[in-house]
Symmetry: C2
Subunit: 204 residues, 2 copies
DNA sequence: ACCTGAACACCGTTCAAGT
DNA sequence: ACCTGAACACCGTTCAAGT
């Protein structure tokens, strides 16, 4: 046997695959070693320990994020398009985003979208601090929405108490209470809330 | 020795204290047992296992959330006030909120604020589905913002690459790029983005 | 009813030893 | 340079046994 059995790259590759398929909790050093066909301790020569291994994974994910580009004719449409693409990007890699989030690298992950938004916000006429705040407001809204979305959709069941809570309402609020006790479409809510935010931002 | 050394209540009490002070990761059955002055296995008689123990903690946190009330003269002001109070509530119990979030009970946690918002949104003239969507948009914006805020503030350092990224910009965007490379005040951004969202929602 | 102790199957990590 | 094996200090959980 001459060539090394594993390398830092192969370790990262299969670690990445485990996280993508089964989540971070499934990434144990022993399982990783088993899938690599090596003794547990063999890993430690290539990556220092589990913490730095995860750090390298985060770097990879962030580094491989492609650019985000706008689309549409008006600045408002183009800002919305960036928001939708960022949301889509996060949705497509749930485990990896969780990884980045839990290691406090979310700000880095948002950079491509931030660039795209800066351009469109500038085109919409917002300069300097006002423009920066608009960019950040949209960014925070989108990423925050997706983070929350993940939690709510994970929710074991539509809690019965949630529906019951709105039953006793009377008068003009009855229709509102009724509507709140029904399930909702997260795509529509995202669309609606983001466009409301952008409208509010663009009018100063 | 006649009276039991521990009860389900005392187990939950000290488990809660550990999580509040040191986070969920610090809650091990063995540490819990040690702090209770009992053998590890003694815990299992009172709460089935670690999973159901955490489930009970989540129930407690959710059950102990007080009401959220509005304040201010105009509907817009009162909606903003609810948003600020919800954010404050979450900020005040970071570990517990993380607990609720990671166990998919965030929707339940938002109920008090949802009630308060429903009332104010109704008073602002939004009924039925439109009102429900406005309530949910504000709710998602606030909670999402705080979730993201936690991640970004956890971020080890203001990444140098973030600042460098904006250096080469030219022309009218220079001021915007400059503003984006500077740190920002999360309180101000929250205030600004929430009020923009509410403005956008109230104007249909 | 309430608690202990031994035992099992897992972890991450270190370190001397092998090739 | 690269990998193994033994060992250590942790986990959560089960179960027979004690009182």
């Amino acid at each position: 046997m001459d060539a090394p059995k594993i390398s830092r790259e192969t370790v990262l590759d299969t670690a990445m695959r485990i996280v993508e398929e089964h989540g971070l909790a499934a990434l144990s050093m022993r399982r990783l070693a088993a899938e690599l066909g090596v003794a547990v301790t063999g890993i430690y020569w290539h990556v220092g320990n589990r913490e730095v291994l995860i750090g390298r994974l985060v770097e990879r994910v962030v580094g491989r994020l492609g650019d985000i580009t706008a689309a549409g004719s008006t600045p408002e449409q183009r800002i919305l398009a960036v928001g939708h693409r960022l949301r889509r990007l996060i949705h497509d890699h749930p485990h990896m985003i969780a990884l980045v989030y839990e290691h406090g690298q979310t700000a880095l992950m948002m950079l491509p979208a931030e660039r795209a938004l800066a351009q469109e916000v500038g085109a919409a006429g917002l300069q300097g601090t006002a423009g920066a705040q608009a960019v950040r407001a949209v960014l925070h809204h989108v990423v925050g929405y997706v983070l929350l979305e993940r939690a709510v959709s994970q929710s074991p069941e539509q809690h019965p108490s949630a529906a019951e809570l709105w039953e006793g309402e009377a008068g003009a609020d009855a229709a509102l209470a009724q509507a709140l006790s029904a399930p909702f479409d997260p795509d529509r809510l995202f669309e609606l809330s983001l466009s409301a935010l952008v409208r509010g931002l663009l009018m100063g």
